[in-house]
Symmetry: C2
Subunit: 322 residues, 2 copies
């Protein structure tokens, strides 16, 4: 089952979010509008808005209230992608040119700033004190996560703990917050939104780990960009961390790369070594452990249709190929 099928019954509400996103990034500056619309059209799974909508099913579903949290959440995610692509020198994302590649670093910088400002503008209008606080704290953690990624670039001594904290800040926190806010916005009970938060956190961790696996195992067609991009960009992810600890040859090679041997051959060898080191299996097991925890949280939630959808999303993450 793919995501589109899971989302099928939400499609009209997702379209409303899509329309609202488009309105949010409209600007009187032509380059800003063009760049932002290019980013929107490049799509993405809109997984955060979907979590908001599903979590909204546990309270008194109100599309207006859900829009007010789903839109800024997705805007923040989009803004962070635009700046991430500058930091990572990434030219492609989901098969489309990134803003920094289509224009330059400067346009990408202010386009990200602009989308971020639009998100903040919407966040300060949220009157619910808890929702407001959850979002503000989440943004700070995300910003710090972006910076940690820069700090850890090409760091061959990066620990498992550091990696997990980075992906928590980079990905799973925003997903956990999406789940929590959807429930808060519709007045779901505290016990429910706390459970949804934990579900989102676990699923987010599994999602990012599977993303990091696919970056090694996916084809260029599946990924919309060449495989092994993380390693080439200096992002040491879970499969590579395992290989660094268990394969001396890989460690030596990565030290060479750090010292400046950035040849295509060196990277290709490094990618092969990660695959043969057992790092992929190790990462798969860890992703599976997180998914198991996510399922456990769902078992404690009311048995409604949304719970089934959330279970399907977890299953999708465990088996996805792109």
């Amino acid at each position: 089952m793919d995501l589109k099928q899971i989302y099928f019954h939400l499609r009209s509400d997702i379209q409303k979010i899509e329309n609202s996103l488009e309105q949010s990034v409209y600007s009187s500056n032509p380059i800003l509008t063009e760049a932002s619309v290019h980013l929107l059209k490049a799509g993405g799974k809109r997984i955060r808005p979907v979590f908001v909508l599903l979590a909204g099913k546990y309270g008194t579903y109100s599309m207006n209230r859900l829009l007010s949290v789903a839109v800024p959440l997705e805007l923040i995610h989009m803004a962070s992608l635009v700046h991430d692509d500058v930091i990572d020198d990434a030219d492609l994302r989901r098969g489309s040119k990134t803003i920094k590649a289509k224009y330059d670093n400067k346009v990408a910088m202010y386009c990200g700033d602009y989308i971020f400002a639009r998100a903040l503008e919407q966040i300060i209008k949220i009157e619910d004190k808890e929702a407001h606080e959850v979002l503000s704290k989440g943004i700070v953690q995300m910003c710090l996560g972006e910076i940690e990624q820069i700090r850890d670039h090409n760091d061959v001594n990066v620990s498992l703990k550091t990696y997990l904290r980075r992906i928590k800040r980079k990905t799973s926190l925003l997903i956990a917050i999406s789940c929590k806010l959807g429930a808060i916005a519709t007045g779901a009970p505290r016990k429910v939104y706390q459970g949804l938060y934990r579900y989102g956190y676990y699923v987010g961790m599994a999602f990012q780990i599977s993303d990091d696996i696919l970056d090694f195992t996916g084809t260029e067609e599946q990924l919309g960009k060449p495989a092994g991009g993380d390693l080439r960009q200096g992002n040491i992810t879970l499969p590579a961390i395992y290989a660094l600890e268990n394969n001396e040859h890989f460690r030596d090679l990565m030290n060479d790369i750090k010292l400046g041997n950035r040849s295509t051959d060196a990277y290709n060898e490094a990618i092969d070594l990660v695959k043969s080191s057992g790092g992929i299996d190790y990462a798969r097991q860890m992703s599976e452990t997180y998914l198991q925890k996510a399922y456990n949280e769902l078992d404690k939630l009311p048995n409604i249709a949304a719970t089934k959808s959330l279970r399907q999303i977890a299953t999708y993450i465990g088996t996805r190929k792109y």
Copy 2:
């Protein structure tokens, strides 16, 4: 009287703010730390922290509480400067190389993001609801102001109203907020912090207009960068707006520039035309009007030593040469 003399009795508290700023931008990433420290050492007038400290004199002065608002305010200002320099392609600021010139747009982008994140991190710790709200709303306005500046680049039809709103968002709002927050943080009465807010707004407008005048009339030595930079960067400020309305030749020349005639001769002629058009005098009068409003606000405040210092700052702005 120059600013240093006005600040003299605050120097030990300003030093505490300086130390706290330094701690705030410390990072485990060497380039980030180097770039941020370079930015700190390049200095600046620290006028926002000074307003916070002076406003703190109207309540129960507490350095800890004042630090908690002065430091994020100055960090936000610093972050916005780093990104502004990318947008404006500026190589020099206060005689020092900008981060985008010393490194590149990419480093400037993430250095700004980093400092911004550090500011947000401190802001969400502020428990006073009103202080928190004032800061959050101020940040959004500032972000929107940055974007307006991009939108208005080389726009020969930019109106006075648009210009005033842009400098409000870009400069005077943060100064008004500095005054207000210093007073709120020390528990000053509502009437006082509202008056201080208005004073800060008026003084901020006068400050930015005088900055925009100096960009035309200052020497390279005084400015720490070549004169006429605003025009060269496409920022149409008050003296140029007056010239556009009152000098047809200047309007034609600016249209040429907009269409691509970016020669040094064209810019030099444009700068001379602004000076001979009466635009400088017009801007001086407007700055003077704002200063008069600022003085009026001070007349309604308690007659304490801080009021005298705030009056001296207003006078300094009216007469400053750099």
